[in-house]
């Protein structure tokens, strides 16, 4: 478990950094997929098996494909993965932010629970999501959101007559 966590954590961080580092845009997208995969593994170590599956299907499957497709559509590969002029200040600011996050998470008191997690989670999540007193309303809102997104994307990309 511990070994798996460390391997996955390092993999996630390195591939995320690679997305920024990598000069080739297409490879950067592939590194993003790798990062998503690693995070799916992290979910498994947190005994969130359903979420790991969702992560695989949606992020690795759908989102990554979308991004790669749009990279191809915009012919961005030819111009590489350039950086702007804000490198140093951005690194400094985010460094300070990361530092403060680390300090906070280490030094804070967390009311940890000692009970063992549910496993598998799928049935419990389904109950929570679809029960009448659960999150069914939000699920429906999510459906509306996705519908809106589809229509919005179509409207945005429709050719002007």
């Amino acid at each position: 478990m511990q070994i798996a966590f460390w391997i996955l954590a390092v993999l996630a961080v390195v591939s995320a950094a690679g997305v920024i580092w990598q000069k080739n845009l297409f490879r950067a997208a592939l590194l993003l997929v790798l990062c998503f995969l690693a995070v799916a593994g992290i979910f498994v170590t947190l005994s969130a098996d359903f979420l790991a599956a969702v992560q695989l299907i949606i992020n690795v499957g759908a989102v990554a494909i979308l991004i790669i497709m749009s990279i191809m559509l915009t012919r961005e590969v030819t111009s590489g993965n350039p950086s702007g002029k804000l490198g140093l200040p951005a690194l400094a600011a985010t460094g300070v932010l990361a530092f403060s996050i680390i300090i906070t998470s280490v030094s804070s008191y967390w009311p940890l629970s000692s009970s063992s997690p549910l496993e598998p989670t799928t049935a419990a999540l389904a109950n929570l999501l679809f029960e009448n007193d659960g999150f069914i309303f939000l699920i429906q809102l999510g459906a509306i959101l996705l519908l809106t997104t589809i229509i919005g994307a179509i409207v945005l990309l429709r050719k002007e007559d």
């Binding site: 995320a16 998503f36 979910f43 992560q55 994307a153």
Partner: protein, 102 residues
């Protein structure tokens, strides 16, 4: 067994890497990718809290489900905007898209 702090630090690192990328990179698509990394980092924190603080209630995981849904919607719209932009201005370099001023 790694503790909550480890997951939080991992989450924070991913978030900050994504943030730095969103500021630094010039390509709008890469910026979207970086935003995805940030959201993923947040997801890890959510699931970790769920696992270590409320292992039975699963509310953190519910949050994550919704974050993934919204992220998917966001990436779809974001890419649509980028494509529309590319079609109109033939570039997606954020340094050249600076009409939003004065």
């Amino acid at each position: 067994m790694p503790g909550l702090e480890h997951y939080l630090i991992l989450s924070g690192l991913l978030f900050c890497i994504g943030l730095a990328g969103a500021v630094i990179k010039r390509s709008a698509i890469v910026i979207l990718m970086c935003i995805e990394i940030m959201l993923t980092g947040v997801n890890i924190a959510m699931v970790a809290f769920s696992r270590f603080i409320t292992p039975v209630e699963l509310t953190g995981q519910i949050f994550t489900v919704f974050i993934i849904v919204v992220a998917a919607a966001e990436i779809a719209i974001g890419l649509a905007i980028i494509l529309a932009l590319y079609r109109n201005r033939n570039t997606i370099d954020t340094q050249k898209i600076d009409l939003l001023k004065w």
